[in-house]
Amino acid sequence: MSALTRQAGETPTPAVGRAQRRAGDSRGGLGRFKGYLWVLPALAFYLAFAVLPAFHTAYLSLFDWDGVTLATFVGLENYSEVFANSRYRNAVGHALLLIAFFSWLPILIGLLMVGLLSRHRRRGMTVYRVLFFLPQIVPLVAVGITWRWMYGDDGVVNQALRAVGLGGVTRAWLGDFDLALPAVGLVGTWAMSGLCMMLFLSGVQKVDTSLYEAVRLDGAGAVREFVTVTLPALRGEIAVAMTVTTVAALASFDIVYVTTGGGPGTQTTVPGLLVYRLAFSEGKVGLASAIAVVLSCLILVIVFMINRLSRTEP
């Protein structure tokens, strides 16, 4: 969502500006601030229940606190533990790996579909669109439970494998030490692909059709058409899709919580799960806060990088 930031810098449209300047000038001085009364309630809620808690988390991350007794100031010790202890470090690694499944794969699938479909307008897209957005609408907890059942011993995945004669590779996927994380990741792929696809398809509709006609007259095939026209036109959409899906991967909690609970062992533990467990079952509030801060910084940096890269012209 944060690719939205781009809009903020622009100046007010002249039309609005004109009307407002007159109203503003007539009052002058402090009167110009009167408009803030309208913003105040929203700002108050946002400050009290989102911004301040965020800073409070950063503050708590500097303490050793079990949530009950007196806290001791430990400086950055919690942070050094996050990076020193493999359990915490790996959780961050898992989240980064999930980006490939939540973000890259869906974007690739989306682009592939656009390449295949964009060559002409289609009827009956409404039904497909409603279907492709479905995973975005339902609670991720329900998605997780559904896939936990799909991946189970008697689930659809194994059923399908047996049906095509691959009975030998069937297993309890989410219990498999090496495959649990990719299995969880593929749930994300399933959930995000439709969104990416629809974003790209709607982006392609805006491309001037004469551009397509021009490259086709040049004798370009589907591939060159895609690379020279479609892909550059979708820069913005790709950046948005990447931002949304990457944030979903890094801050993932719901799906992991219900499918594997972080297991087997700690093979699918993600930072969100650690924040929850450390703060509310293991009594390590400071450490949980430090992980939350690290996670948020990671999200900020990556979102910033995506927006930067998408804006520089090739």
């Binding site: 939205l4 503003g24 913003v39 700002l43 989102a50 957005f133 659809v156 509310f280």
Partner: protein, 274 residues
């Protein structure tokens, strides 16, 4: 430009394959929920005998009726408040020339990427101090704040696109800012408000981690949080677990099918408007 028929059909074939991929998990859980309670279910299986027993069990015994009610109460608190506050702020930031207005707007936008993980720990302890943990209020207040960045962004975008002449004309007639908003802008804002309403309802309905932490009492949790808790209890009884899952999905699914235009417009434009 005419394209070969084969290419057209290949496109539909691929679309349909993907659609099947999306729908199979839902069908699988739906069929499982219709099987007799406690039976062993295998994959995607057409039920021999259709029965609603699992739904009855999930609804009354497992307490999903209460969970759904809790969810509705929270949504009813969050949606109107978010709409109201976002409209007021979006109106001022979108149409008035406020000193530093852009900075304030940026400050809201910066909140778009705040993950729940970052705020939930101190929220729990602070709300506990004032006795709000385990109440609907805790979740309602925090969700309003959490959705405010998007709400303000969305409504500001809307108000900026309304023709300034409308406001100017009304101002010449001596209308105050409040009257202009109520009489002139709000009726025009209905589609935008509708979209925001369904999105906020959806986010509130689907919120999990926040509820899991702020409401520890299983009876007061929302439907998804209750479902998450329920998984631990009923791992083996797939039919009842599936029924519970369908019950949690159903309200938001119906809303989606009724307001699919608003949902899709919101999800696409919400992501893209920047």
């Amino acid at each position: 430009m005419r394209l070969r028929q084969s290419e057209r059909w290949a496109g539909y074939l691929i679309l349909t394959l993907l659609a099947v991929g999306i729908i199979v998990p839902f069908l699988s859980i739906f069929f499982a929920s219709m099987q007799p309670s406690g039976s062993t279910v295998t994959g995607l299986a057409w039920p021999d005998e259709w029965s609603l027993d699992n739904y009855r069990e999930a609804w009354s015994v497992a307490g999903f009726s209460g969970l759904i009610r809790n969810s509705l109460i929270i949504c009813l608190g969050v949606v109107p408040a978010t709409l109201l506050l976002a409209t007021l702020a979006g109106y001022a930031l979108g149409t008035m020339r406020l000193p530093g207005g852009n900075a304030v707007f940026m400050f809201f936008v910066a909140g778009l990427t705040i993950p729940v993980e970052l705020i939930v720990v101190p929220l729990y302890y602070n709300l506990d101090t004032v006795g709000l943990v385990n109440t609907y209020w805790a979740v309602i207040l925090v969700e309003i704040a959490l959705f405010m960045p998007f709400g303000v962004f969305w409504m500001r975008t809307h108000f900026r696109s309304t023709p300034a002449e409308l406001m100017e004309a009304a101002r010449v007639d001596g209308a105050s800012s409040g009257v202009i908003l109520r009489r002139i802008l709000l009726p025009l804002a209905r589609p935008s408000l509708m979209t925001l309403a369904v999105l906020v309802f959806m986010w509130s309905w689907n919120q999990f981690l926040l509820v899991l932490i702020l409401i520890q009492d299983p009876d007061r949790r929302t439907a998804p949080a209750g479902l998450g808790y329920f998984v631990g209890q009923h791992t083996t009884n797939i039919p009842v677990l599936s029924a519970g899952t369908v019950i949690v999905i159903l309200p938001i699914l119906i809303l989606y099918l009724v307001f699919q235009r608003s949902f899709i417009a919101g999800l696409l434009q919400g992501a893209l408007k920047g």
